[in-house]
């Protein structure tokens, strides 16, 4: 019975593939230690390469806990911080897809593993 209870607890959890911490861990494994404060700077930094959006915050707002809005289509965007939107940073494929799309959009290049790790660390640190 002692073994069964933890198993049942696992089953009761929502079927997210991973936790934000696991996603951060695998980024840190590629990049080295992550810095939430560097991630925050990165999130707010203006880029002159941005075609539509000139920063992450342009769509996601300065507050990762707040809903954002696509600068061009004006579609509402769920908050990006896991504390405000619990399915954020739980699907590695989705995280990778959006780093690819949005880094290319804002920076006109791919993000480095270090940037991704810092960004993720910042989002997890938002309480």
């Amino acid at each position: 019975m002692k073994r069964v209870v933890p198993l049942l607890v696992l089953l009761a959890l929502p079927a997210y593939a991973e936790t934000p911490q696991q996603i951060l861990d695998s980024l840190v494994a590629q990049a080295g230690p992550a810095s939430a404060s560097r991630g925050e700077q990165f999130f707010r930094a203006k880029s002159s390469a941005g075609k539509t959006a000139d920063s992450c915050a342009a769509c996601h707002t300065d507050n990762p806990k707040a809903p954002g809005q696509h600068v061009k289509t004006h579609k509402a965007i769920d908050p990006i911080a896991p504390v405000a939107q619990k399915d954020r940073f739980t699907d590695p494929a989705k995280v990778e897809k959006w780093f690819k799309r949005n880094c290319n959009e804002v920076l006109a290049r791919a993000c480095t593993p270090q940037e991704k790790a810092d960004f993720t660390a910042y989002m997890i640190s938002v309480k």
Partner: protein, 174 residues
């Protein structure tokens, strides 16, 4: 002259006729229910609907979707490229339910009929049917922060991602 006037038989006939008509009216989709078929599965809403409304395929003819899905690397100025298997699957979804597909409903046929055969419009808001349906919306409404552009269907049609554009469901944000 035996069966004229108010007889039980005539009353019964009348009652049945009224009843059948009432049921028929009740069952018929109201003209207001602007419902468009949507692709099965979540791929379309997840891929396309994450940046903008998952526009119902029936809002444009298949030739428009084919052109759009062949130019995703420059999708209205953004790179919306998809892996090839995803691109092909979504293109098939769009073609299957486009405004000119064989089982198109009445609205889709009107949308399709208003588009010249040699045109492949890329913006739904530039089609004749869209303009006709929204001609009463003043410019300042589109400019409200939560709407921003006429292409932001879901701002006022909360179930747009399910293909539902009925007027009774319209909620215009302040």
């Amino acid at each position: 002259m035996k069966d004229t006037g108010i007889t039980w038989k005539n009353l019964l006939t009348l009652t049945v006729a009224v009843g059948v008509t009432a049921v028929a009216i009740g069952q018929a989709p109201a003209d207001d229910d602007a419902i468009f078929p949507m692709p099965a599965g979540k791929a379309y809403v997840n891929e396309c609907g994450s940046c903008h409304t998952a526009f119902a395929p029936g809002l444009l003819p298949a030739r428009s979707w084919r052109k759009m899905m062949s130019e995703l690397a420059n999708h209205f100025g953004e790179d919306a490229s998809l892996e090839e298997p995803h691109r092909l699957a979504i293109l098939k979804d769009l073609e299957t339910l486009a405004a000119d597909f064989p089982h198109a409903n009445m609205r889709m046929r009107r949308i399709s009929a208003a588009i010249p055969g040699n045109a492949a419009p890329q913006r739904i808001i530039e089609t004749g049917y869209f303009k006709y349906m929204h001609d009463e919306v003043p410019k300042h409404i589109w400019q409200r922060k939560k709407i921003g552009t006429p292409g932001n269907c879901i701002a006022c049609h909360p179930r747009a991602n399910e293909g539902r554009y009925g007027e009774r469901e319209v909620r215009i944000p302040q």
